[in-house]
């Protein structure tokens, strides 16, 4: 089972996402609402993947992703950024971040996570810098 940590400041979303992912066969090992919680959870739970919201209240998901990557040492947790914003809006920042990829919150699903992880495992570039237009 794929273990997953969800980092988001919106409890309503956390609940809905956990519910959805659990049903689709993803073990949600924990949730976090702040960077500090996230860092603690990742260190403690060692999830396979961390779903990280770009907007963490006053904190930046990109910053947190960078810290997770830096603090985790040789075996970093794989991070997937999530947001209600379109991927295209953050494409540049996403590309520059040490993350597996991006999943729109409204399109969140176990399949989407697995696809990204598999694509990342193949060593492919997760997304083109200037990709085709889309939501």
């Amino acid at each position: 089972m794929l273990s997953c940590l969800i980092v988001d400041d919106n409890p309503r979303f956390l609940a809905a996402a956990r519910d959805l992912l659990e049903r689709e066969g993803v073990t949600v090992v924990g949730v976090a609402s702040t960077s500090a919680e996230a860092l603690q959870a990742v260190a403690a739970l060692r999830p396979d993947v961390t779903l990280l919201d770009i907007d963490l209240g006053g904190e930046s998901g990109f910053d947190l992703a960078a810290r997770l990557h830096r603090d985790a040492g040789l075996t970093p947790s794989r991070v997937i950024l999530i947001s209600t914003h379109a991927e295209q809006d953050y494409a540049e920042l996403i590309g520059a971040s040490p993350v597996v990829g991006f999943v729109s919150k409204s399109a969140l699903s176990a399949d989407a996570i697995r696809d990204l992880l598999e694509r990342d495992g193949d060593g492919e570039c997760p997304l083109p810098i200037n990709g085709p237009r889309g939501t």
Partner: protein, 889 residues
């Protein structure tokens, strides 16, 4: 007494010679011809004249018959011897008259008549008695002898009388020749055109000499029947000097000449009275002759001769007439010449006058200052009028006059610039009273302070003054004075030409001065207006107040010629802070310095009263900083009804003109406006920035709220819905489908909401900054966009937002309106500025003023103190260039 005729003939010729050498005038001199001389000699040799011989014959023819008839009647009473003696007597008579020849004939005839009538036989020529024959022969012989003696005597007597006659005629001839010579000498003088006075003297001399007069004079008659002596010679001529003026009265011959116009003589002056009587009495003149001198038909005068002896010869008048004719000619000549001279003098005088007027007119026309024209005019007037002194004076308001120029010999008495008050009888006083030319002919009898103090010491005898009229107003007077005599008539008119020129010069000068003055005033006004305009332009351009204050200080200092100009702000504590300072002032007043003004400083008074103040002389007051400033003016600066500060000027010289405060007020008003504008503009700018920032904040907040609230809830709802969908039993496919439809609809809604949120505020801008935000924009654009972004640092939110919206709006325009196929965006951070340019290859024609999008951009950019330029020529693409200051004002 008689001498050889040749002697006096040659003597005459000799006297003739000197005149011939002198004169070029032909005067006929009557001289005996050689034929006349021969006849005279012949007559002298042949005895008695034919006329006497004929007279003798006639006497014989008359006397002899008559005697015969008488004797025949008284034959009884007279005997023969008596008869013979009577006949002898008759023959002697014939001989006395007719000389020898008629006497001899008469003797023979008497012998025949005696024989025929008285010697018997009577009435027969025979002689009866021989004694009678002897008697007859004796009678004839005695008669012949007697006739011879008597004829000789007669001839002798005639010769003597002839000699006497010759002597007389020789005297006459000599006199005539002298007279002719005298006439010729006079005529020569006349012809030489010597002055009439010399001619008169010469004529008097010659006439006196010719007539042997003891006193000779020539008089000229005046219109009042008076006589003026023009020449006087003879005994003691000083008794009747030239110039003597008298009235001829009978018995003087002159009076008769004056009355009749013909020559006259007076044989007895013993009864003469009056001036002439005294003169003739003193000279012992007893009689005289006067002959008129006619000049062109008019009795001009007379020549008078007088003698102490008996009367003059009868031909004296005739002989004087020759001279009077010459005198007449001389006078006519002299008068003609005098007229000629006079007209020549008049012409020369006119020419001189014209030249003088022209010289003055040239000065006037050249616009030479009136002060230089006056001496020139005084000089010319003096020269033209031949006056001893001349001056020009100006009439002052109080009736006194001020000497402006003077020439001539009155250096000490009337210096230029001296003032005095003319009183009658001065000609100047009359001019001032009447406004017309005036003269005073003779100051010798005049009295008065000025006359005594100045006119008489100067020796001025008479003067002429003429008014100088400038534009209808009596401005001054020109006066000229002479030491002797008086001025000719018409002098006033001659001065008028000069006074007119002087008047013109003064009018010109006054007009020019007024013109200069008004031109200066205009120039001053124009400079002031230009200075105000420059300041107003600065104010209108909205340059910073510090710059306006400095400019005002400069302009005010220049316009008012101040040595120092300062603008100071009044602080809340009552001190002032120098905001601008121009001029040569010490460091205490440097910009930024603070101090507390105290009265009597104009600045302190102006701040205290809120009104302009001045201090005419700081030297009176102690305690003021030793700036060398002598007087100052300060004017308060009021900004929107509030006393803001003060502007002050200072000078090291005299006080400022009275209108200084008024002139400074124009600048203080502008300053007040500038400061108020600057304040207002600063407030406006700040409020615009605040408005824009507030709007941006609001949008950011809305976007955040949407994101954190609605969007999250919808997303959560969507996820929950998907869970619900997955939990629907497979035998309820319609429910599954329906829930799936709702989920899809919900996702679409989420997408829409996301687009709306992005439109409200681009989250990426806050998150990633301008570069990522612009790159996102470019990626999302419908056309290829080339980006050139050089922004090493994040800028302030308002700057980034503005830049983002500029690019966003420009790309929208390029796509939607310009139908461009390509766009290029360049962003460069340059020191404190952010340069931004967006160019496309579209159709152009965008109106920078129109289009709500562009206007919104303009407002946003200007609110940040930036500038935006839109170039969009039709068909040549659109270029939008924006410059934003990284640090807002």
């Amino acid at each position: 007494m008689p001498s050889a005729p040749s002697d006096w003939f040659w003597a005459l010729a000799a006297t003739d010679r000197p005149g011939g050498e002198r004169g070029d005038l032909e005067v006929p001199i009557v001289l005996p011809t050689p034929a006349a001389t021969r006849r005279w000699l012949h007559a002298r040799g042949a005895g008695l004249s034919q006329r006497r011989r004929l007279a003798g014959a006639v006497i014989a023819l008359v006397v002899l018959p008559l005697l015969t008839m008488v004797l025949a009647h008284v034959r009884a009473m007279v005997n023969l011897p008596s008869q013979t003696l009577l006949y002898l007597l008759a023959v002697v008579v014939v001989a006395l008259v007719g000389g020898l020849v008629p006497a001899v004939v008469s003797a023979v005839a008497a012998a025949v008549l005696l024989d025929h009538y008285f010697i018997p036989p009577l009435y027969d020529f025979s002689v009866a008695e021989p004694t009678n024959v002897v008697a007859l022969v004796a009678f004839v012989l005695v008669a012949g002898a007697a006739s011879s003696v008597v004829g000789l005597a007669a001839r002798r007597r005639q010769a003597e009388s002839l000699a006497a006659a010759h002597a007389e005629s020789r005297e006459q001839l000599r006199g005539l020749a002298q007279e002719q010579a005298a006439l010729r000498r006079v005529a020569t003088l006349v012809a030489h055109g010597v002055p009439a006075a010399d001619v008169f003297a010469a004529v008097a001399r010659e006439v006196g000499g010719v007539l042997g007069a003891d006193s000779t004079n020539i008089v000229r008659f005046g219109p009042d029947d008076s006589a003026t002596v023009v020449a006087s010679v003879g005994l003691r001529p000083e008794q009747v000097p030239v110039g003597t003026h008298w009235k001829p009265e009978p018995p003087m011959a002159t009076a008769a000449v004056l009355r009749t116009g013909r020559p006259a003589r007076a044989d007895d002056y013993s009864e003469a009275s009056g001036l002439a009587g005294d003169a003739v009495g003193r000279l012992g003149i007893r009689s005289g002759v006067a002959a008129p001198i006619l000049v062109e038909g008019q009795v001009w005068g007379a020549i008078n001769v007088g003698t102490q002896g008996r009367r003059f010869p009868a031909d004296a008048e005739q002989r004087m007439a020759d001279f009077t004719e010459l005198v007449g000619t001389a006078i006519a000549n002299a008068e003609g010449r005098a007229q000629l001279e006079e007209s020549r003098d008049e012409l020369r005088r006119l020419a001189d006058e014209q030249a003088a007027l022209r010289r003055v007119a040239t000065l006037v026309a050249r616009g030479v200052p009136a002060a230089e024209v006056f001496p020139a005019v005084a000089r010319e007037v003096r020269h033209i009028l031949g006056s001893a002194a001349s001056n020009i004076s100006r009439l002052d308001a109080d009736g006194a006059i001020t000497v402006l120029a003077r020439v001539g010999e009155h250096q000490a008495e009337l210096p230029v610039g001296s003032r005095w008050r003319p009183e009658p009888p001065l000609a100047v006083a009359a001019v001032l009273r009447t406004g017309r030319p005036a003269r005073c002919e003779d100051y010798s009898g005049a009295s008065g302070a000025f006359v005594d103090a100045t006119v008489r010491p100067m020796g001025i005898r008479s003067s002429v003054a003429a008014p100088i009229v400038v534009e209808g107003r009596l401005w001054g007077v020109i006066v000229a004075g002479v030491l002797h005599g008086g001025f000719a008539p018409g002098t006033e008119e001659r001065m008028a030409g000069f006074t007119e020129l002087v008047g013109t010069a003064i009018a010109n000068a006054e007009g020019r001065a007024q013109l200069e003055e008004s031109r200066d005033e205009l120039r001053r006004l124009a400079e002031e207006q230009a200075a105000l305009r420059r300041v107003a332009t600065l104010v209108a351009r909205g340059v910073p107040p510090a710059e306006v204050l400095s400019a005002v200080a400069h302009e005010v200092g220049r316009v008012l010629c101040a040595d120092g100009t300062g603008v100071a702000r009044l602080d809340a504590d009552g001190a002032i802070t120098v905001c601008a300072c121009v001029g040569d002032l010490p460091g205490e007043l440097a910009v930024g310095s603070r101090w507390r003004p105290e009265p009597p400083q104009a600045v302190a008074v102006a701040l205290r009263t809120g009104r302009p103040a001045r201090n005419e002389d700081y030297r009176k007051d102690s305690g003021f900083p030793p700036l060398g400033i002598r007087s100052g003016v300060a004017v308060p600066i009021v900004v929107e009804g509030r006393l803001w500060g003060v502007i002050s000027v200072g000078t090291r010289h005299g006080p400022f003109p009275a209108d200084t405060e008024g002139r400074m007020s124009g600048f203080t008003e502008l300053l007040g406006t500038a400061i108020a504008n600057a304040d207002g503009r600063a407030q406006l700018t700040a409020s615009r920035v605040r408005i824009v920032a507030a709007a941006d904040d609001a949008r950011r907040g809305i976007e955040r709220d949407l994101h954190d609230g609605t969007q999250q809830r919808l997303v959560a709802l969507s996820l929950t819905l998907r869970v619900a969908q997955s939990t629907v039993p497979a035998d309820l496919p319609w429910l599954q489908a329906q829930i799936g439809g709702v989920a899809d609809e919900l996702n679409d809604t989420i997408d829409e909401l996301r687009e709306i949120a992005r439109g409200i505020h681009p989250a990426i801008l806050s998150e990633g900054g301008l570069g990522p935000a612009l790159r996102t924009l470019a990626r999302r654009a419908a056309i290829p966009v080339e980006l050139d972004i050089r922004t090493p640092n994040r800028a302030a939110d308002p700057i980034e937002v503005a830049a983002y919206y500029v690019v966003s709006e420009a790309l929208t325009n390029a796509t939607k309106h310009a139908h461009a196929s390509y766009a290029r965006v360049a962003v460069e951070q340059r020191d404190t500025l952010l340069d931004l340019s967006i160019r496309d290859d579209g159709v152009g024609g965008a109106d920078p003023a129109g289009g709500s999008g562009l206007i919104g951009l303009r407002d946003r950019v200007q609110a940040l103190g930036g500038s935006i330029e839109v170039e969009s020529p039709r068909g040549a693409g659109t270029a939008i260039v924006v410059v934003l200051p990284l640090q807002p004002e």
